[in-house]
């Protein structure tokens, strides 16, 4: 064949070697997704064969040559009820099965490690808690639950890993999350599946699933020297957050230690849970997130902190279990350890230790590290 047309030959070889009907099954959820897919294929096949058989057989049996006289039939309630109820029942099975799968994919387990993703035209940026930055790539360990907290800094994007059967829209102005547990080490496609402008099809990357040992090596080898929370801490100081959120008795802003995942009461009496979304919103739109008991004097930081900066701040605040270090940065003369310690125990607190903060290299946390003692109110 190849002497006839090399191109065609190449094409056929490619077909035979690379032809696939399913992407690799590389996550814990993938087998469940595929099982559901086969069920759906099966009912589709049954439905299609049924319609095909009806149309085919009747066309042959009742063609004009065979059956010159049509017999008029008004309809049949029984038959019509049958083909209303059976499809409905099958569709309900699909509904329940699909819903179970959906809730499983979109409700992250509590023990998942969190990685932040920022989408922008036309790249994916990943921020690991350990301070590793990645562009158009994501390294993850096999066998651990990984949650992605994602946001877009411009238009809608969508984070899709076909081999893991997960996908979620990445939206400007709000965090969305997705989680997975990789099962097979390997390199898989990462696609942006929401049309996002000129180079939409270049907004792709590699998901590198690694064995835990390799992952440890990778983490150690690619750290930028300071963790995400440390970046956040620097930013916290440079934006002057600590001048109000100092955690002291007379502070103008609420105490942030232990605030993450606690219930807070807003101005007007509404109670909300202080999640990632709430922390980010409080920085950008303080007036709509004003907490009861505090004067609404906080300026907005809209346009002054990039999404990565906000992520660093959120990560820092999430890990804040006492105000010691804030005081230290402030060099506050009123520092009282007992007071700071008293605020440390909030419900659902996620403990995390800050280390190595004394030698902060000048890795820029963000745009506003030169802003000094906070921006002027707008």
């Amino acid at each position: 064949m190849h002497f006839f047309s090399p191109v065609l030959w190449q094409f056929l070889v490619k077909w035979l070697t690379e032809f696939a009907l399913f992407p690799p099954q590389a996550s814990a959820i993938a087998p469940y997704m595929d099982a559901f897919y086969f069920f759906l294929l099966l009912i589709s096949l049954v439905g299609l064969v049924l319609v095909g058989l009806m149309v085919g057989t009747f066309s042959i049996m009742f063609r004009k040559e065979k059956n010159p006289q049509a017999t008029h039939i008004e309809g049949s309630t029984l038959l019509e009820a049958t083909w209303t109820i059976i499809p409905l029942a099958l569709f309900m099975v699909c509904f329940v099965w699909g819903a179970l799968l959906y809730f499983r994919i979109y409700n992250p387990p509590t023990n998942a490690m969190n990685i932040y993703i920022v989408g922008k035209q036309w790249m994916w940026k990943a921020e690991h808690p350990g301070g590793q930055h990645e562009i158009n790539a994501l390294h993850i360990p096999v066998g651990r639950n990984v949650q992605l907290t994602m946001i877009s800094q411009d238009v809608f994007h969508s984070f899709s890993i076909p081999a893991f059967r997960v996908k979620r829209e990445v939206i400007p102005g709000r965090y969305s999350t997705v989680w997975f547990r990789a099962t097979q080490p390997g390199t898989y496609h990462l696609f942006c599946t929401q049309y996002c402008g000129t180079l939409h099809s270049s907004m792709i990357g590699d998901i590198v699933a690694m064995s835990p040992d390799d992952y440890e090596k990778w983490t150690a080898g690619s750290t930028s020297g300071q963790s995400l929370a440390q970046n956040g801490e620097r930013l916290y100081a440079s934006l002057g957050c600590n001048s109000c959120h100092s955690g002291t008795a007379g502070a103008r802003g609420p105490n942030l230690a232990g605030i993450y995942r606690s219930k807070v009461t807003l101005e007007g009496g509404r109670t909300v849970t202080a999640d990632d979304e709430f922390l980010r919103g409080s920085i950008l739109n303080p007036t709509t997130h004003a907490m009861a008991g505090y004067a609404p004097i906080m300026p907005t930081y809209q346009g002054q902190v990039s999404e990565e900066g906000l992520i660093a701040l959120v990560e820092y605040i999430k890990g804040l279990n006492n105000n010691d270090r804030i005081h230290q940065t402030l060099n506050d003369s009123n520092f009282s350890p007992s007071q700071a310690g008293a605020t440390g125990a909030a419900p659902n607190y996620r403990s995390r230790q800050l280390t190595g903060a004394d030698q902060m290299p000048d890795a820029k946390p963000d745009t506003s590290s030169s802003k000094g003692m906070g921006p002027s109110p707008q």
Binding site: F11, K14, A20, P23, F36, S44, G47, L48, V51, G52, M54, V55, F58, S59, F62, R63, K64, N67, P68, A70, T71, H72, E74, G75, S76, L79, E80, W83, P87, F91, F95, W97, G98, A99, L101, Y102, Y106, N107, D154, V155, F156, S160, P162, K167, R168, I171, G173, R174, S176, H189, C192, Q194, Y195, C196, G197, T198, H200, S201, L284, N285
Partner: protein, 553 residues
């Protein structure tokens, strides 16, 4: 009860001396006409133009996707191509396709009226359509638009420097054209039925157009509002969709799909009406379960309004609202299933012949069944996560819109062509076209289901090389499909002069439109018909034919 079908002797048929085609001459008599039949012809010509334009863009897209590398056109051009393809095909072809051409032509005759309720509004609707077409064309000529047909914010409002407002204005105007058509159909169906033409004597074609018209009138204004908001946001930055100004980018998705999901039913319902007529006529038998088919159209129209958020399952709507929308989506699939089974059951004990419209109708049933069932995949929440925004979606809606609607449109155009022009299309060639279309379609879009499950995202200019084989198959199919669509245009133009003369009722169909001469006179009925028989009453037709005196003007 039984009927022996007697086909009229076509050798004896002559063209009527006076018909709507030759009652007046000159361009002005066409451009200022109030006659629904002439307006239907104007629509037919204009939407055919836009269909082939949109098709040419599709051809370029498929050609680009022949290779994984972005080598035929630049990324910007590619994005403009699929945007233009989508905007033209959805708003300038699919939405008006059956209602504005076939519906405009036969709906008033089917109910026994001399014209639509508002002939001038009908003409205005065509002018609006043309203005919309010209505005959209000019946006393309000025440099194109690369938003995709969905105009997604904030991409469309803040991040593109193409002619978004122009294109949105075109779609806005096209929307009003569609509203006027819908309004006309609703009023005509309510007020202009001939004596004796009760609701349950209406052909199912009228029922499905009525249901689609309700969707047009209630849904399209929401699209208009959405596009105005996009334009205002883009021009003045009012911030409705902008999170930095307190707006909500998801709001756009809600508003857009609140129209654009019902729009799917605006497109498919008239096609279902065509299929009901064709299946009944070529089985010489009343549609099985007339009432069920009629009410399933209404059910689709009602449920169609409450499923829009199934386009947004992965966009961070709350899990519980996703649950509700998934459930409603499953419910809307049921009336479509009822229709398919009822059509198949209509064939039972019929006396079936296989003229071209029937072949297209069979094509519709097969492809629409696949399209509908893959819709269940996408309506199932968990499966949607993996499949949405991939080629699976592309394949699914092309099976419904092209495999379903376009097949129905071609069935309808072939079926009523003798009535519209008074001449037959060439039967052999048209059967070939129907089969070519079917094969080409399967070859083009079936591989895309596989591509979608493999994860190939839609709207991609370049793709990983392992997807090439399936893309090559798809492009090869598109070539066959293109031939399948070009053939009818050629032989139908040919038949205008050389086609056999059809006579008034070449198919021995029962609709009122088949009881008058072909082409019909301008006033449709010399005297108002009095309807004393049910729809699809082939016994009535058999008894009537021997005594019939065909008035040839």
């Amino acid at each position: 009860m039984s009927t022996i079908v007697r086909l009229p002797n076509q050798q004896d048929a002559t063209l009527p001396k006076r018909s709507y085609l030759n009652s007046e001459y000159g361009l002005k008599s066409w451009l200022l006409t109030g006659d629904h039949k002439r307006i239907a012809i104007l629509y037919l010509i204009s939407i055919t133009f836009f269909f082939f334009l949109g098709g040419a863009f599709a051809g370029l897209i498929r050609l680009e996707l022949l290779t994984p590398m972005p080598d035929l056109v630049s990324s910007d051009t590619y994005n403009k191509l699929f945007s233009a393809h989508g905007i033209i095909m959805v708003f300038l072809f699919l939405v008006p396709s059956v209602p504005a051409t076939v519906g405009n032509f036969v709906l008033p005759i089917m109910v026994g009226a001399r014209d639509l309720a508002f002939p001038k509004v009908n003409l205005l609707s065509w002018y609006l359509y043309m203005v919309a077409g010209i505005v959209i064309l000019s946006s393309l000529i000025l440099g194109g638009v690369d938003t995709g047909w969905t105009f997604t914010t904030p991409l469309s409002t803040h991040y593109l420097n193409t002619h978004v407002i122009t294109a949105a204005m075109g779609v806005f105007i096209a929307g009003f054209s569609s509203i006027f058509t819908g309004l006309n159909f609703i009023v005509t169906t309510h007020r202009m039925r001939a004596p004796g033409m009760t609701w349950f004597r209406l052909p199912l074609f009228v029922w499905s157009h009525y249901a689609a018209s309700i969707l047009m009138v209630l849904g399209t204004p929401v699209l208009a509002i959405t596009l105005v908001l996009v334009a205002l946001e883009r021009a003045f930055g009012i911030g409705v969709f902008d999170p930095t100004k307190g707006g909500d980018p998801l709001l756009f998705q809600h508003l857009f799909w609140f129209y654009s999901h019902p729009a799917v039913y605006i497109m498919i319902l008239p096609g279902m009406g065509v299929i009901s007529e064709v299946i009944s006529t070529f089985s010489r038998k009343r549609v099985f379960g007339y009432t069920a088919v009629a009410f399933s159209s209404v059910a689709i129209a009602v449920f169609g309004f409450f499923v829009w958020a199934h386009h947004m399952f992965i966009m961070g709507v709350s899990n519980y609202s996703a649950l509700v929308f998934s459930l409603l989506t499953m419910l809307v699939a049921v009336p479509s299933a009822i229709k398919i089974f009822n059509w198949a059951a209509t064939l039972y004990k019929g006396s079936i012949t296989f003229e071209t419209p029937m072949l297209y109708a069979f094509g519709f049933m097969g492809l629409f069944t696949i399209g509908g069932l893959t819709g269940v995949f996408l309506g199932s929440l968990g499966m949607d996560i993996h499949l949405t925004e991939t080629y699976f979606i592309v394949a699914h809606f092309h099976f419904v819109m092209v495999g379903g609607m376009l097949m129905a449109y071609l069935a309808g155009v072939h079926f009523w062509w003798p009535k519209m022009t008074g001449r037959m299309y060439p039967e052999g060639l048209s059967k070939l076209a129907a089969v070519t279309t079917f094969i080409g379609f399967i070859l083009t879009f079936f591989p895309q289901f596989v591509l979608g499950y493999l994860g190939m995202p839609r709207r991609y200019h370049a793709y990983p090389p392992e997807f090439q084989v399936l893309n090559v198959l798809s492009t090869a199919g598109a070539t066959v499909l293109g031939i399948g669509y070009l053939l009818p245009m050629i032989y139908m133009t040919w038949s205008l002069k050389y086609g056999a003369i059809a006579g008034s009722n070449p198919w021995q169909a029962t609709g009122l439109e088949w009881q008058i001469q072909s082409p019909p006179p301008t006033e449709n009925f010399i005297e108002t018909p009095i309807v004393d028989y049910e729809a699809y009453d082939y016994d009535w037709l058999a008894n009537k034919t021997p005594h019939e005196v065909t008035t040839v003007g």
